[in-house]
Every structure is written in structure tokens, then in C-alpha cells.
């Protein structure tokens, strides 16, 4: 949901289909999501989760970091004990591709050896906003560049804070110019009832083997196959 919120904040970027600039390097990332809300009844609710992301020219691969017990259980419940064929896109790696100016989305179910493609009309149903820029950069660089620079000091060489306040809500981005990726995104309201933070940790090296090249023999399914 936090990711969805970030997509939403990117607003008009959803249709931006610009190819990544040549200087945007391949990256392996670990991304931590955190949210906190304080209710009028005095209840504080917090949410944390992590994802890994591989970024290569034309490809973005995002996988939720799951606890061991979840990996053991897999999707057995859905596939083996239910008459219905639902799939849970949160649990499956998401593969976004940019091919010939067109963005394509698919999920990969390693357990069932299936690639599940999602047509554009169903993007909303899996929480994808259709924006290649948001997928590749986590936040559309054009919109980041449009944000005013902040006085907040950065401890990361080559990274600068930008900040925007509008209607009582703020958004702050620590943008790494060299890697072309945000290192931190914070958003929330000035009344401190809601706060989101995304922390991005680029890995020192990038993997040479990429998972989308290891799908030989996988069956092709369509999102529509899971609708009854």
C-alpha cells in the first residue's frame, strides 16, 4: 500500500513512458517500507516490510522479502485446497518490462512454473499504475527534478534532498544523482498523523544472473485465467 501511495503521489507521471537515460545504471536494491498512523483515539499503528529490486535496461524485478514460514507455505492454500484459482500478486515476484516503448507487466509463480501476464486494463487490480518511470526509478525523475531543493544536509555524496509542501502534506526525496534513484522518500502530513518512509539500499554489486532469463519451460497464463 505504501508503494501504491508513492505511485499516487507521483500523479501525472503515470503516463510518462520515457526510456531510461543512458546514465541510469543497473542496480540491485533492498527497499524498506515503513508507515505510521496516529488515530484520534490515540492509537499508533505501524507497518514495515521489505522488497528486493533488480533494475536492468528494460527490466525491473521486484520481490517481497518473506519470512521463512511464508516461503514454506507458498501458495499451497490457493492452489491445492481451494476450488478457485486466485493468485496473490503481493507474494509473487513482479516483472515489469519496457519493450519498444510499451510497458508490460507479469508475475512469476516459481512453484507452479507459471508466468502470469497482466493486461493494461487490469493494472489497477494488482496495484500497478502503469508507469515505467515509477517502476524503474521508484519515483519519476522529472517530478523529482521539479521539486525545490531542500536545506536539509545529505550525508551521501552526490545525493541531495528535495522537499515539497502542499495543502498541509509534505514529500521529501533524497535523490542520488549518480545512481538515478531515491535513497529516501518521506511523506506525510504536518499534523503528524500519518508518516511514510521508504529507504533504498543499493547493493555493492549487481547480480549477473537475472531471474527473468530463467523462465524456460514456464507456462504462460493470463490474469483473466484467475477470474471465475
Amino acid at each position: 500500500m505504501i508503494r501504491t501511495a508513492i505511485f499516487t503521489l507521483a500523479l501525472v507521471a503515470t503516463q510518462a513512458q520515457a526510456a531510461p537515460p543512458a546514465q541510469a545504471p543497473a542496480l540491485d536494491l533492498r527497499i524498506q517500507y515503513y508507515s505510521k498512523a496516529v488515530t484520534p483515539e490515540g492509537v499508533t499503528r505501524e507497518v514495515r516490510y521489505e522488497e528486493t529490486m533488480l533494475r536492468r535496461p528494460g527490466h525491473v524485478w521486484v520481490a517481497r522479502v518473506l519470512p521463512p514460514q511464508a516461503q514454506a507455505a507458498g501458495q499451497a492454500g490457493d492452489h491445492e485446497h481451494s476450488v478457485h484459482k486466485h493468485f496473490n500478486p503481493v507474494l509473487l515476484p513482479r516483472h515489469v518490462q519496457q519493450d519498444g516503448g510499451k510497458t508490460r507487466l507479469e508475475y512469476v509463480d516459481a512453484r507452479s512454473k507459471e508466468v502470469i501476464s497482466v493486461p493494461q486494463g487490469e493494472y489497477g487490480n494488482v496495484g500497478f499504475d502503469g508507469s515505467w518511470a515509477n517502476a524503474y526509478y521508484l519515483s519519476d525523475p522529472k517530478l523529482v527534478q521539479a521539486m525545490p531543493l531542500s536545506q536539509r544536509p545529505s550525508t551521501v555524496p552526490g545525493a541531495r534532498w528535495r522537499e515539497q509542501v502542499r495543502n498541509g502534506s509534505y514529500r521529501r526525496v533524497l535523490w542520488d544523482e549518480q545512481r538515478q534513484i531515491p535513497l529516501v522518500i518521506e511523506s506525510g502530513d504536518q499534523a503528524a498523523t500519518i508518516f511514510h518512509r521508504v529507504e533504498v539500499q543499493p547493493q555493492a554489486t549487481v547480480a549477473s544472473a537475472v531471474p527473468w532469463q530463467q523462465l524456460k519451460g514456464y507456462a504462460q497464463r493470463d490474469y483473466g485465467d484467475f477470474l471465475d
Binding site: 500500500m1 505504501i2 499516487t8 508507515s35 505510521k36 498512523a37 488515530t39 484520534p40 483515539e41 492509537v43 499503528r45 507497518v47 490457493d78 476450488v83 478457485h84 484459482k85 486466485h86 493468485f87 496473490n88 500478486p89 503481493v90 512454473k113 507459471e114 493486461p119 493494461q120 486494463g121 487490469e122 493494472y123 489497477g124 487490480n125 496495484g127 499504475d129 500519518i194 519451460g217 514456464y218 507456462a219 504462460q220 497464463r221 493470463d222 490474469y223 483473466g224 485465467d225 484467475f226 477470474l227 471465475d228
Partner: protein, 465 residues
């Protein structure tokens, strides 16, 4: 007193005569997949306002229908549609088979597609559908949908199988003379329309990965049997009368949602796809060539799919497109049958969903928007002080880890997913009764709260079978 009794007896006799069996020459059966009562109300408000009416609202006769299946409180589309078509209650996932039939999943073929039908020969028996009965009486028959043609609802009209997912085997049942043909269809279904050419065409590693593993080209086989084969709206329009017709308007999977088909530019293959209303009118043109009359099933199948995703905007838009098809059918039928003395039109749903309608919104507040108080016009707030939408679902994918304000602009967007009570990866069907509307010949018999199997009996009686 005596005169009153005589008058009453005469009136009763007149009513009985009007209800006599065999008065409907034609029946058009409209099925809004998953179109429960709340979806109908929300669609009405979306398009026509609180005090407006959908076309289906204007039909004179109404009933409520129980939808439970042989083994489940909450049905799926296979046994619910099959109950309408056959009068038999069967288990979830079973298509037009006897009650004891066990749903056995197909398995993957060499290409990874569900091409291996595992229904054993002794696993239940086929039960006749109203479409087959009409065909046997010399009527023309048709089955059209916005889903894959082999999806559960259309499949329940022309095929019999122990599991709805065996779609390659379902396709083969529609091809006269071919292996696996359903001979109860006589010389074949006269009009078939929908999506999913892949279930009818051979597998190809590059161009048709979800194609048939048996290498058969069912469309070529159908053409050889005299069918006009169409892949686009233009080809449908050009199809001549006097020939059987199959139109498959998507290379694979379902037709686009109406919101996407009618977008500028259309999404996916939407530019070449007809609307459900256009398909309905064309089907009536083709079927009405038969002087014995016809049976036509029309499904608005993607209402259900958008509801599974808790995407109310697409669900309501597809419901309106479905209702437009009802209007188109009524208008066309009345051209030759002004009082519908020979034509019965039934509109219903196969099951409900978990769509709920929150209070207490102001009249005129957009139905997809956040709820606004009817007295103050200000956004309604939940116990945590956050806004919420008027439409929500009992279960589904969008149960935020942390609920915050729902923004009005976001809620009105095409891709907004309504929030849900229980978090599931996909929203489920609901078990509540659905509505049924009817008009024309034999419509008076549709009343009260009836079992879904009773609908078959009423259709059969209306036809005089």
C-alpha cells in the same frame, strides 16, 4: 354475488389462457455475471441518478432468485448458470452435468496449458440445456458473451463437462462433427460470440502460446461446416444472414472492459471489438432468420471480473453496457413484435458479490466518490477520522495496512480499488439472492422468491416444451 363469481372465474380463465404454455416463440436470456442487487443500484445511480431507471428496472415482472449450489452456500458461475440452463443443481465448477458429478481439475499439457481434460466417462451424465431443447425443436440458438466463449457461463449453454477449467475440451464440444462434439447441438449452435481464440486454434511457441496442444484449428473446422468466422467488429457487421456464425474478438482471454474498449485510444484489442449491444443486435439479426424462433443467451461477463478486483468503476460501466444491450434487444424485438407477444426477455444474475453501500450519503453525491453527509454535504468520517467511499466490499485485496483518508480524486479514478473488510487476494462471490426481471411472452410466471433451478422450468414452460 353470482355475477362477481362468474366474472372472477372468467378473469381466472383469461389469466390461465394468457399463461398458457408455448406462447414464447423467442427467448432472450440476459445474464449479468455477478450483478447483485447492490451493483444494480450503484449502476443506476452512476448513470441515471437516484430517481432514474436502468432499462432492466423498467421490465414489468420481477423475482428474487436463490443461488446456492449443490455443495456450496456461495456458488461459482458454473453451477449457477447451469441451474438456469438445465434445472439441475450441481457442484461448484461443474458445467451442465448431473448433481453427483465431481469437479475434477484438468491438468497441464506439454505446453503448460490446461489442455488435459480429466473428467472420467463415468463421472456424472450430461443434462439437457434449454439451448439444446430449443435446437431440437427446430429453433435457432445462440450464445454470446464478453468473456472467453469457453468461460463458465456461455459454456453452460452448449457444453457438458465436470470442470469449467477444461476450456480446450469445452471448445471442441461446439464443433459439429469433430472429436468431442456435443451431438445434442444437432447441426451446431447458430451464433457464438465472445473472446479467446487461443482455445480454438493450434499452439504456436511464438504466436499462440496458449493455443491447443492437439494441433486442431477449430475455427477452420467450423468454417468447413459452413460457419462465418469473424475476428473483428467489422467482420461481424459484414457477416451474411443464412449462415451460422462464430465471432471471437480477442486473441486470448476476455474482451476488454467497456471502460477500456471505449477509451481514447481503446486499450488492448478494444478498437476492433464490438459492444455487447452491437453483438446482441447482430445475433438477433442472424437468429431471426429461422421462422421457428430462437433462443439467445447474452452474458455481460466482465461485471464479475471487475467486482473480483473491487474496481467498482469498471463493474458499473460494464453493467451499464449490459443494460444498454437489454435496451437494444427490446428496441429491436419490438420492431417486429411490438407487444412482445412472441418474445420473452429475462434479465438476471448468476450470483451476488460482496459489494456494500455505506450510509449516509447526500443525494447526488457521485456514487464512486467518498461519502458526503446528506445534511452537511461534508465528507463522512470513520471512527479514526478518515474519509471513506460509499461503495466498499466485504472482502478483497484493498485492505490497507494503515487506513488513511481516501482522496476524492483518487476514488473517482479508473483504477481505484474500493476498500474491503477482510483482506483476500481476490474478492469472492456473495451468497445473497439476486434479482430477476422479465417482460414479454410468459413473463408473468416470474415472481416471488424462487430457486435458480425453477428459472429453467419457467423458460421451458414459456417455450411450451
Amino acid at each position: 354475488m353470482k355475477r362477481t363469481l362468474i366474472a372472477a372465474a372468467l378473469a381466472l380463465g383469461f389469466v390461465n389462457a394468457a399463461n398458457a404454455a408455448g406462447e414464447a416463440k423467442n427467448i432472450i436470456f440476459f445474464l449479468g455475471d455477478g450483478m447483485g442487487p447492490s451493483t444494480i443500484t450503484a449502476s443506476r445511480i452512476y448513470k441515471y441518478g437516484e430517481d432514474g431507471s436502468l432499462t432492466m428496472d423498467k421490465l414489468e415482472r420481477t423475482a428474487r432468485v436463490k443461488t446456492y449450489s449443490y455443495d456450496a452456500q456461495t456458488t461459482d458461475s458454473a453451477p449457477s448458470m447451469a441451474a438456469y440452463m438445465t434445472g439441475v443443481k450441481m457442484a461448484n465448477e461443474v458445467i451442465s452435468m448431473s448433481a453427483e458429478t465431481v469437479a475434477t481439475s484438468p491438468s497441464k499439457d506439454a505446453n503448460g496449458n490446461l489442455g488435459v481434460n480429466n473428467c472420467a466417462a463415468n463421472n456424472g451424465t450430461a443434462v439437457a440445456t434449454i439451448l439444446e431443447l430449443a435446437k431440437a425443436k427446430g429453433k435457432a440458438v445462440g450464445s454470446i458473451t464478453t468473456t472467453e466463449l469457453t468461460h463458465a457461463t456461455p459454456a453452460a449453454t452448449y457444453s457438458h463437462i465436470c470442470n469449467r477449467n477444461a476450456q480446450y475440451a469445452i471448445a471442441a464440444q461446439a464443433v459439429p462433427g469433430g472429436a468431442g462434439y456435443n451431438t445434442a447441438l444437432g447441426d451446431g449452435v447458430d451464433v457464438l460470440m465472445g473472446g479467446g481464440r487461443n482455445h480454438f486454434t493450434p499452439y504456436n511457441a511464438t504466436t499462440n502460446k496458449a493455443g491447443r496442444a492437439d494441433g486442431r484449428d477449430l475455427l477452420a473446422e467450423l468454417a468447413a461446416k459452413g460457419y462465418t468466422v469473424a475476428a473483428t467488429k467489422a467482420e461481424m457487421a459484414a457477416a451474411p444472414n443464412g449462415k451460422k456464425f462464430i465471432g471471437l474478438y480477442s486473441s486470448k482471454s476476455h474482451l476488454e472492459y467497456e471502460l477500456d474498449r471505449s477509451a481514447t485510444p481503446p486499450v488492448g484489442e478494444g478498437a476492433s471489438q464490438p459492444s455487447l449491444a452491437e453483438m446482441t443486435v447482430k445475433a438477433m439479426d442472424l437468429l431471426s432468420q429461422n421462422s421457428n424462433g430462437y433462443f439467445l443467451m447474452v452474458e455481460g461477463g466482465r461485471i464479475d471480473h471487475a467486482l473480483h478486483g473491487t474496481n467498482a468503476k469498471r463493474a458499473l460501466t460494464d453493467t451499464i453496457a449490459f443494460d444498454d444491450a437489454v435496451k437494444a434487444a427490446l428496441d429491436k424485438a419490438r420492431l417486429t413484435d411490438p407487444t412482445l407477444a412472441n418474445t420473452l426477455i429475462v434479465v438476471t444474475a448468476d450470483h451476488d458479490h460482496t459489494l456494500a453501500f455505506n450510509g449516509y450519503g447526500k443525494r447526488g453525491n457521485p456514487i464512486l466518490d467518498i461519502n458526503r453527509d446528506y445534511k452537511t454535504g461534508q465528507p463522512s468520517k470513520d471512527a479514526d477520522g478518515n474519509t471513506y467511499t460509499t461503495l466498499v466490499f466485504g472482502n478483497g485485496p484493498n485492505r490497507p495496512n494503515l487506513r488513511t483518508n481516501v482522496d476524492s480524486a483518487a476514488a473517482l479514478g479508473d483504477n481505484y480499488l474500493q476498500e474491503t473488510g477482510v483482506r483476500l487476494s481476490s474478492e469472492t462471490h456473495g451468497g445473497g439472492d439476486v434479482k430477476l426481471f422479465a417482460t414479454g411472452a410468459g413473463a408473468k410466471a416470474f415472481k416471488g422468491t424462487i430457486d435458480n433451478t425453477k428459472v429453467f422450468t419457467l423458460l421451458k414452460t414459456a417455450f411450451g416444451f
